[in-house]
């Protein structure tokens, strides 16, 4: 084992050697320096490996032949080994990345860089507080030197502010150190810990000074303008290293010094948590308003520092899991933030919008996506598991306020990162300049990305829960990424086969409830994928993300633990986000989808956290047995699921997201994905039905939400001009019915709910697929630009006809099954008014359904559509398969409803409905699906044959052969009533269409942005102001911490 002292020795030795042997070439010096850093990495990682294997004990390294307190000593423990390894590893990659940038400044730059890394190593390892001060100063000086490798005034200004600020902080630290020494007579940290300085008033001041210096090193908001400037102003290659390596060291300094301030749970823990929370929320809030990429990264970095500080302050709550949480957050930040900074260095786009150029090289987009999702804490990255563990522990210990802080801060971060990513994926790319790929700059980033994925896997395997997660679907996604260069047909086949095989294997393990949803997800998925054969070319990036969504969907079905469920949920969210953003004008809608989804996911996370209180093992069954705060737990879970089902108030993302998505994506996200939210609601309601608490108020509220969603969704749909948006609003309405029906919580209610779930899947998939295929043919979404397509697309017309009859609930098709059950359920339950609102919404559905079929298929054919063909056969196959499903479900509803009734009997008494053959009897009424269908069909066929005979000689007319008050129509456009079709109805119901919810969220968004815009003015750019911030921060903190105690 190489002693860690050789890290110092090697760096200094080689540094002097390069200085002395000045004649050596620059490149040779550089390579020598890199080799030295490599050696440092080797030493620390050797220690890390030894600790990992488990036969190594922490070792003190003494210097100068004395023992402390006389001499300086270093400690190499597992934490030190890990942190130094990380610092050196990042340093090594950074060295490669910056190789030529250093070279331009001469060989001394290599030396300074080496010394910089060495000083960080010592800062991590040292157990002597004065030594700590010295090496902090060395690292600061080295940093100030290295900032200058970026040319231009900005870097110089930033460096000056940095060095002034760090000097002041060091001065404070030094004063603190000398006081501490004065009172205890030792400089050794372990000695200081044993001295219990903070128990005395005067010692308290020493502790205060030391701690405040350590905190200020972490760049707490708002006394951190200098830190932001350095991140933004210095070379991005170096900013990365400063932002993660220095930050890691600073974090560990704080960690070490916190021991001096007191034991776990002391006052300083609380202050740290408070400062961390302010920093985390504050800097992420300001990030929201930021337009420039570099500075945004700076805000994000500081936010992450705040999070680390917060976590450290919460160590009381986290207990043994502190290290796991910190490791997860830290390692994600290390890899992702470094990579992000380096990526920013390569792309060289200034504003966020300019990042649209990144997609000229799709691989870079993949890198950026990885970093964004890792930073926000999506699976499978380490931060996901860390965040999970943190929330679970906080909830268990009652730290609900802190959960809120963490989730709000993370949400603010999600806002700007996803907006940025949206610009990159879909922003307007009108910029002339391009960016180059240099291999020595790319390689470190690729290594980081690989490390990120692997670290995620390792992190998951570290815990028992994580080991239960099924990574096979995720692996399949990566395989699809790898074969993305293949043509679309091959990938489609592979994807379908993969899904089919997976479904075959998991099929036996599913109970009936899960089977229904899994069939919707998997069979529906396969059917919608078949439509993909209609696409030509490569369809780059489609299949990995589509399968990612399905992987998430099947993940939530298969989940046994809450972690697995949440894992699947987040995968599904990520996949669907990518699917949605593929649409042409999807950027803002994908963003709002993602933000609602993230917020919803956080609500679910918090809900699971509360549900987990007092439970031995977080299996999914804890939802059936929530022991504390059940209203909060179920409420949060339901809110989370309601964001996915787009219930009123949380629905504004849906119309755009589903409306602008690609033709075969809309059915995926509408007919299939929305059911994930329903599945969640079903699980929560099963739990509520089994709960010992009285949760009827929650179910009642849910019922009202469902009914109002149905009403507003349907009214919204009536006034859409865009066919896909119309269907999207219709989905909102239909999901409102489903939520309402499940909230009834009786057997009939749930039967209604499941009937609607199946129905909505069938007909919404049919409608979205058909409309999507038509959009592909006619090239517009606007219904008023279509018309008369029945002559060109009779098959599509028939599909839509059956679809709308089924959706409208007119007998004899399956929609009526739902309506009939619905009436019985609401009357049985006594929810009359909610029920009436929902049924009134059903009446309104006629309006938009008729509009859909009339304005697309009937009326006047437009001139430019004269040569359009029938929709693609690859769309017709899934459409007609689903139509068969509708017809079977219409004519023989008992085939599905009987087993469903038996399944629901597990949860609710089986007394709502009984069957005699095809006759259904409830307490109130009766009805037969097959009989009605037969009667209607017979009358219909007879009437049709008679009329056909009587009009056998009919002369076929063309489109303008209509009565037009003696005139001839001028043009199809002026003869087709489609635009603003329900003008009269609008005059009557306009108060219901006022977009209050949209206004509310716009107002919220404005509020956040305005606040951020106002607060960030404190960063005036003036170095002196930043000094003032530091001093004021110290003074305020002094009053908070010590205040009048002296």
């Amino acid at each position: 084992m190489v002693s860690p002292i050789y890290i110092v020795a090697a760096a200094l030795g080689v540094g002097f050697a390069i200085g002395v042997l000045g004649k050596l070439g620059k490149n040779f010096s550089g390579i020598l320096a890199l080799l030295t850093i490599g050696f440092m990495t080797f030493v620390s990682s050797e220690w890390l490996y030894a600790f990992y294997v488990g036969n190594q004990v922490p070792t003190y390294i003494f210097t100068a032949g004395f023992k402390p307190p006389i001499s300086i000593n270093l400690l190499m423990g597992p934490k030190e080994a890990f942190l130094t390894t990380m610092v050196n590893f990042i340093g090594l990659l950074g060295g490669i990345y910056l190789f030529f940038n250093f070279g331009r400044k001469g060989r001394n730059a290599y030396v300074v860089y080496m010394v910089f890394l060495m000083s960080l190593n010592v800062v991590i390892m040292t157990r002597d507080i004065f030594n700590l001060f010295v090496f902090l100063e060395i690292s600061a000086i080295a940093t100030a030197g290295l900032i200058l490798i970026e040319r231009g005034n900005r870097a110089v200004g930033a460096g000056f502010k940095y060095i002034i600020a760090t000097s002041i902080i060091s001065s404070i630290l030094l004063i603190g150190i000398i006081f501490a020494y004065f009172y205890t007579g030792t400089l050794n940290i372990d000695g200081l810990v044993q001295a219990h300085l903070s128990t005395t008033a005067t010692g308290g001041i020493a502790v205060f000074l030391i701690m405040i210096a350590a905190v200020l090193e972490m760049k707490p908001f708002p006394a951190n303008g200098w830190g932001l400037d350095v991140y933004e102003g210095s070379h991005q290659g170096f900013s990365a290293v400063v932002s993660v390596a220095t930050a890691t060291a600073s974090y560990y300094v704080l960690y070490k010094l916190l021991a001096i301030a007191g034991p776990v749970g002391s006052q300083w823990d609380y202050y740290l948590a408070l400062m961390g929370a302010v920093t985390f929320i504050g800097s992420n809030l300001l990030g929201v308003k930021q337009k420039f990429a570099r500075r945004l990264l700076a805000y994000s970095s500081i936010g992450q520092l705040g999070l680390l500080m917060l976590i450290l302050g919460l160590r009381k709550y986290l207990g043994d899991n502190l290290d796991y949480v910190v490791l997860g957050i830290l390692i994600t930040n290390l890899f992702a933030k470094t990579g992000f900074f380096w990526l920013a260095g390569i792309v060289k786009a200034k504003t966020l919008k300019e990042w649209a150029i990144i997609r000229r090289k799709p691989f870079f987009l993949f890198l950026m996506g990885t970093f964004v999702f890792a930073l926000i804490g999506f699976p499978p990255f380490p931060s996901f598991f860390a965040k999970w563990t943190m929330v679970m522990n906080l909830a268990r210990q009652g730290g609900f306020g802190w959960i809120a802080v963490i989730l709000i801060g993370s949400f603010l971060e999600a806002i700007y990162l996803f907006r940025w990513f949206g610009y990159a994926v879909k922003g307007e790319d009108t910029y002339k300049y391009d960016f180059n790929i240099r291999w020595h700059k790319i390689t470190p980033i690729v290594i980081l990305v690989a490390a990120l994925y692997y670290a995620g896997y390792l992190t998951s395997q570290y815990t028992e829960l994580g080991r239960m997660i099924d990574f096979i679907p995720l692996f399949f996604v990566l395989v699809l990424f790898a074969i993305d260069f293949l043509p679309v047909a091959v990938k489609n086949t592979i994807a379908i086969l993969g899904m089919g095989t997976y479904f075959y294997f998991i099929y036996p393990d599913l109970d009936n409830l899960r089977l229904i949803f899994e069939v919707i997800f998997m069979v529906g998925g396969i059917l919608t994928l078949i439509a993909g054969y209609a696409y030509k070319g490569k369809r780059s990036g489609f299949y990995p993300v589509a399968i990612l969504m399905y992987a998430g969907l099947t993940g939530i079905i298969q989940a046994h633990t809450t972690l697995e469920f949440f894992f699947g949920w987040e995968l599904m969210t990520a996949g669907s986000y990518f699917l949605i953003i593929r649409g042409k004008r999807s950027m803002p809608h994908a963003l709002s989808y993602m933000l609602f989804s993230v917020a919803g996911a956080y609500a679910i996370l918090a809900g699971f956290g509360i549900a987990n209180i007092g439970q031995a093992f977080p299996s999914l069954d804890i939802m059936n047995n929530i022991q504390y705060f059940p209203n909060w737990a179920y409420g949060l879970l339901l809110i989370g699921f309601l964001t996915k089902t787009a219930s009123v108030g949380l629905h504004i993302w849906l119309p755009g997201a589903h409306g602008e998505a690609e033709s075969d994506v809309s059915p995926m996200v509408s007919a299939i994905l929305l059911k994930a939210g329903v599945f969640g609601i079903v699980l929560a309601l099963i739990g509520m039905s089994k709960s010992d608490f009285d949760l009827s108020a929650l179910a009642y509220t849910l019922g009202w939400i469902g009914a109002l969603t149905a009403l507003f969704g349907n009214i919204g749909a009536v006034f859409q001009e865009d066919a896909k948006r119309l269907l999207a609003y219709s989905s909102i309405g239909q999901l409102g019915y489903i939520v309402f029906a499940f909230a009834i919580m009786t057997q009939l209610g749930w039967l209604t709910g499941f009937t609607y779930v199946i129905n909505h899947f069938l007909y919404k998939a049919v409608l979205f697929l058909t409309v999507g295929a038509i959009v592909l043919r006619v090239g517009t979404h606007n219904m008023y630009e279509m018309g008369g397509l029945i002559k060109k697309m009779p098959w599509a017309f028939f599909a839509v006809l059956i679809g709308i009859i089924a959706l409208s609930g007119v007998p004899p098709l399956s929609g009526f099954t739902g309506k009939w059950l619905f009436y019985n359920a609401i009357i049985e339950k006594g929810w009359y008014f909610q029920g009436v609102i929902a049924m009134f919404a059903g009446g309104i559905a006629f309006l938009y359904l008729y509009r859909l079929i009339q304005t697309i298929f009937l009326g006047q054919l437009k001139d430019n559509h004269r040569n359009v063909k029938e929709i693609s056969i690859w769309f017709l196959i899934p459409i007609y398969t689903l139509l068969t499903g509708i017809l079977v479900f219409s004519y023989e509803p008992q085939w599905v409803l009987k087993p469903l009734g038996n399944m629901i009997a597990q949860y609710f008494p089986n007394n709502g409905l009984h069957w005699e053959g095809s006759y259904a009897y409830s307490h109130l009424g009766y009805w037969t699906g097959a009989g009605v269908a037969a009667t209607v069909s017979v009358v219909f066929v007879i009437a049709f044959i008679l009329l056909k005979i009587m009009t056998r000689k009919a002369h076929k007319l063309e489109q303008f052969d209509i009565v037009f008050s003696g005139e001839r129509p001028e043009r199809p456009e002026t003869t087709h009533i489609a635009y603003n079709m329900y003008a009269g109805f609008y005059k009557a119901v306009w108060p219901l269409t006022v977009p209050l919810v949209e206004r509310f969220w716009t107002w919220m968004s404005d509020l956040v942005h305005e606040t951020a815009g106002f607060v960030r003015r404190i960063y005036s750019g003036n170095g002196q102001a930043y000094m003032l911030h530091i001093i004021l921060y110290i003074i305020i903190l002094y009053f908070i911490t010590i205040g009048g105690n002296i």
Binding site: I827, F833, V836, F846, W927, G931, L947, T951, K956
Partner: protein
């Protein structure tokens, strides 16, 4: 009773209802004429019109759905007849009411309307679409008091079966719903005004603004089918409210008298009141009928 006998009785019932409907529409026009001080059409005019329409030589077709419009309409009307018991307490005249309850009827109303709308749309005439858009808007508005009233009745009688609702009203007029549950009864009667489609709720077929709206392109045989469906529907709509509110009918005479009175209640309102614009008619249903409907349920929900 054998299924054939039942079928025969059902067809006979349909025939009666069709002719009664034609006679009622003739009487309606006669009444309108007499209110205006005219002599009016002969009472047999609808039959002549029907024959003439069947004898029109030119037949035109806008497309396949154009055919299906009248077929849907006719099926809707006949279906409504089939799924409702014609006479109460008679096995012969109970039609196919064993196949479904009140909810089926409520939703089957829309079958013909929706199909007709699609068929008319295939004609490509803008005025059809305008008429339909008005009709659908008005239908949606009528739905609200209608559902409220029906639910109030369902709560009152604890059933959704039309047969049982009629059965509960037997034994004298004091048992009729209109007397036992007057608020729901008035709500439904107000909704009935809209459902019957006479003035003031007949903007859907504004004759000279949008030449009679949806069926503007229909002629000859098509028009004949539509007219006969309309005749059936007039009776059936009245019969539905008769069954819900006025104790149903146990013989054809009672049936004819009651449907006549209910139908002519809407006719007389129509003769007196001028036409509503569509937003006025929609808003009208959201005022008093809605308030009454809510009251009708509130009474039973405590």
């Amino acid at each position: 009773m054998s299924i054939y006998a039942k079928l025969a009785y059902t067809l006979l019932g349909l025939f009666i209802v069709l002719n009664w409907g034609m006679l009622m529409s003739a009487t309606f026009r006669k009444i309108v004429a007499r209110v205006a001080g005219r002599h009016g059409i002969p009472f047999y005019q609808p039959w002549i019109d029907l024959i003439k329409n069947a004898g029109v030589r030119t037949t035109l077709s806008h497309g396949f759905m154009f055919y299906l419009g009248p077929v849907f309409r006719f099926t809707g009307a006949v279906g409504m007849f089939l799924f409702m018991p014609a006479l109460f307490g008679s096995d012969m005249w109970s039609n196919f009411s064993f196949q479904g309850d009140l909810i089926l009827l409520l939703y089957f109303q829309s079958f013909g309307m929706l199909g007709m709308a699609i068929g008319a749309g295939d004609g490509g005439h803008p005025h059809s679409t305008i008429g339909i858009s008005r009709g659908l808007a008005q239908h949606a508005a009528i739905e609200l008091p209608m559902i409220l009233g029906v639910i109030s009745l369902a709560i009152q009688y604890h059933t959704l079966s039309l047969n049982e609702i009629i059965a509960a009203q037997q034994g004298g007029f004091q048992h009729w719903t209109i007397f036992t549950n007057p608020i729901a009864g008035i709500t439904l009667l107000l909704a009935a005004l809209g459902a019957m489609g006479h003035s003031p709720f007949n903007l859907v077929k504004a004759p000279n603004e949008i030449p009679i709206g949806p069926p503007t392109e229909y002629h000859g045989t098509y028009l004949g089918v539509l007219m006969s469906s309309g005749a059936i529907l007039h009776v059936i709509e009245a019969a539905l409210f008769m069954n819900l509110l006025f104790g149903g009918a146990t013989n054809w005479l009672e049936y004819i008298v009651k449907t006549f009175l209910i139908y002519f209640y809407s006719v007389f309102v129509g003769v007196v009141f001028p036409r509503f614009k569509i937003e006025q008619s929609v808003v009208w249903f959201f005022k008093i009928p809605l308030a009454l409907g809510i009251l009708a349920i509130l009474i039973y929900s405590f």
